[in-house]
Amino acid sequence: MANVSNKSTVVSSVLTTTSGFHTTSLTQLSIFNAPASSCTLKQVYTLPPLLFVDPYELHHYEDSYSFEVSGTSNLEAPVFAMDKKDTILLLNILLSDLRPEHVLLLVTLPLHMRYGYPTLETEMTEGFVNVTLSPPVTFWSCSHSSPVPLPENLRGAFAAFPAFRSSAALFVVPPAEGGILTPHTIRIPVGHLEDARVVEFSTVATILLAFVYLIRIAVRSARSPLEGGRVKEE
């Protein structure tokens, strides 16, 4: 990592919940002046296939950041209908020119989970799958005339976003002392494949029974009391 004189740190990165199909990543940043006037503040998230962002939802946060997504952003498909690659999300955090010398920023990112592979009875998962989300990497991107070693934890972003290949020096914002920056494990419920037979049979049986019930009533109800002068029986 290149030397930079900057006291900015990542204070914490937490998830509002680690179960269910929706969560929000909250990253608190302690931001001092940028290393140089050409620097912009960015964040990179590496999202495993089970997690996704809704780009249209992220537009609600346009006062806080703009974003780029590399990878599939299908909003509806389950994980087994997607390719197995991670999605890389790059946030360009907006810093006001008029901000004070030091500011605490909160970067909010809503996340959603896809349906996972249903489990088999032989798998001791109790109907859940765990997915690990690494905390985002926050960094300054500054224009630089000479090559600067690329931080290892930004190599994925560098490959995903060719714009980085212009001469930019990337300076990772370190965690604060005692800061909470550990990977999170999100527990997502999944179905059971061994339910398939019962579900198939019972679903269709219920549908057919309901169908027959309603057809019988329809046939009875459709008999007009006026046809043939017969009065309808109660």
């Binding site: 809503p110 579900v199 269709v204 057919l208 169908f211 009875r220 459709a222 309808k232 109660e234």
Partner: protein
């Protein structure tokens, strides 16, 4: 009587309209305030989808241009650039003022459609339904004896309105006032229903389609079949399911025609079958079907000419093979999830019965059998159209492979018009309402645990889906049994 006291105390229709309008405006203003301050939005996700699609249409650019054959002469964008936009481009165009005037314009439009629908409901009740209806919510046994003494001039209200010598229903003033108040109470079921106003003020576009459907019904009940055919074509363009009403319209047109002809004295089975089939296939029904289909295809052709294949695929073809694996009211969700392509039943080759069960026919046949069959069974007279359309729509929704709360609006729309034609006791009605709501509440409780608490309740949620189908089918069956056809009279 208590009922009359309640009717007299109920606000006037004008007051109900003002209240409904004010409520909707307040909620839309609240939605703007709330959404600016809360992560959990009041506005429906769908409204964002429509608004984004509108933006794509109005601001074409590199990578965003309509893809139809005429697109090179028309500089418009492609609404289908917006992922999950699966509606006609006309909806995106309708919301153009979202960009020019105010982002909430669409919500005001949808709320306005609600209000117009309420006015139409009131008008139908006053002019057509209530003058001939049985007293609401009375048991059949109580009612039967009073029917013969109330041979009201039913058909006068349903005469072809093109006939200038309108035979008005003459009622003494107190009766007219009571009819008006009854209509107000029933219309208020729509206008002041939290279900209805929350859907439109959250930005769901269902109220546009329900207005089209009501207009179609309005014209059909008045015998304006050409207008009804055009509106049916428009409704079907908007969303495909109203096509099921076509069969009932055709049945009514054919039956009315046949009633004017003298029935031959004796008929063998073949002749009787031919006579029955002629109900559905004759010059008038072909004309109706032609106008309706022509409207549908003309609209489709114009839209296709501009927006091309993406319009066809997203608006119609997508629904042919959509796989809704995520949880929704329909119990099919779990079956789709467990049998989704890419999720194998390990090892075994499936037996034929399981292959049949997994095929689309297992759901499609019962659904369309009931949805279309109800149109054939019930729609023999114009006054039966409300009941027929209600049953057709409810059956379509209950047996659909995907079902969200908004779908219920498609048949709830008819309830204020249907209630006067039902001979069901108050107690039984409350049981039906309780069952209808209770099965949904049960499902929602499990869905919340799955989606937001992350509990492994797929199986339980699926069971709730079965309970939903059974419960709603039972309620529908009860309403079908309670439909009082004995008040029909012929001239």
């Amino acid at each position: 009587m208590d009922q009359n006291r309640i009717l007299r105390a109920f606000p006037s229709f004008r007051t109900v309209l003002v209240l409904s309008t004010g409520l909707r405006i307040a909620l839309i203003l609240y939605s703007e305030w709330h959404d600016a301050r809360s992560v959990v939005k009041y506005t429906d996700v769908d409204y964002r989808v429509f608004s984004d699609a509108t933006r794509f249409v109005l601001y074409p650019g590199p990578g965003n241009h309509a893809q139809g054959p005429l697109a090179k002469w028309i500089n418009v964008g492609d609404p289908y650039m917006r992922e999950t936009y699966r509606y006609t481009p006309l909806l995106a165009l309708l919301l153009a003022p979202n960009e020019w005037v105010h982002p909430s314009f669409g919500k005001y439009l949808f709320a306005g459609c609600d209000i117009l629908a309420g006015i139409l409901i009131h008008k139908l009740l006053v002019s057509v339904i209530l003058p001939r209806a049985v007293p609401p919510l009375r048991a059949r046994a109580d009612h039967a004896s009073s029917v013969t003494s109330r041979q009201i001039s039913t058909p006068a209200a349903l005469q072809d309105s093109d006939a200038p010598e309108k035979r008005k229903i003459t009622q003494p003033d107190p009766m007219a006032e009571e009819t008006g108040q009854r209509a107000t109470v029933l219309a208020a079921l729509h206008l002041l229903s939290p279900f209805v106003f929350s859907i439109s003020t959250r930005g769901s576009s269902e109220s546009v389609l329900t207005l089209f459907v009501l207009l179609t019904l309005f014209c059909a009940l008045r015998g304006r079949w050409t207008a009804a055919a055009v509106l049916l074509g428009l409704s079907t363009h908007w969303k495909i399911y109203p096509v099921i009403y076509g069969l009932s319209c055709v049945g009514v047109i054919g039956s009315e025609q046949q009633r004017h002809r003298e029935k031959p004295p004796q008929q063998d089975r073949l002749a009787a079958t031919r006579r029955y089939l002629k109900i559905f296939v004759n010059a008038d029904t072909i004309r109706f079907a032609g106008i309706s289909a022509g409207t549908f295809f003309a609209l489709g052709a114009v839209v296709y000419a501009v927006w091309g294949y993406p319009f066809l695929y997203e608006t119609y073809l997508y629904h042919l093979h959509r796989l809704d694996h995520r949880h929704n009211f329909s119990p099919y969700f779990y079956l789709i999830y467990l049998t989704y392509p890419g999720v194998g039943t390990p090892g075994a080759h499936l037996p034929l019965w399981r292959t049949l069960i997994r095929s689309s026919l297992a759901s499609f046949l019962p659904q369309m059998g009931l949805a279309l069959g109800a149109g054939v069974f019930f729609a023999r007279r114009r006054e039966d159209l409300i009941f027929a359309w209600f049953v057709q729509t409810a059956a379509f929704v209950i047996f659909n492979k995907v079902c969200t709360s908004q779908y219920f609006l498609w048949y709830l729309l008819f309830m204020p018009l249907l209630i006067p034609q039902l001979a069901i006791s108050w107690r039984r009605a409350l049981v039906y309402v309780g069952c209808w709501m209770g099965t949904q509440a049960l499902w929602l409780s499990q869905a919340y645990r799955l989606e937001f608490l992350g509990e492994a309740v797929f199986y339980r949620l699926w069971i709730c889906g079965l309970v939903y189908v059974a419960g709603h089918s039972w309620v529908l069956g009860g309403i079908m049994k309670g439909y009082d056809r004995t008040s029909r009279t012929s001239t």
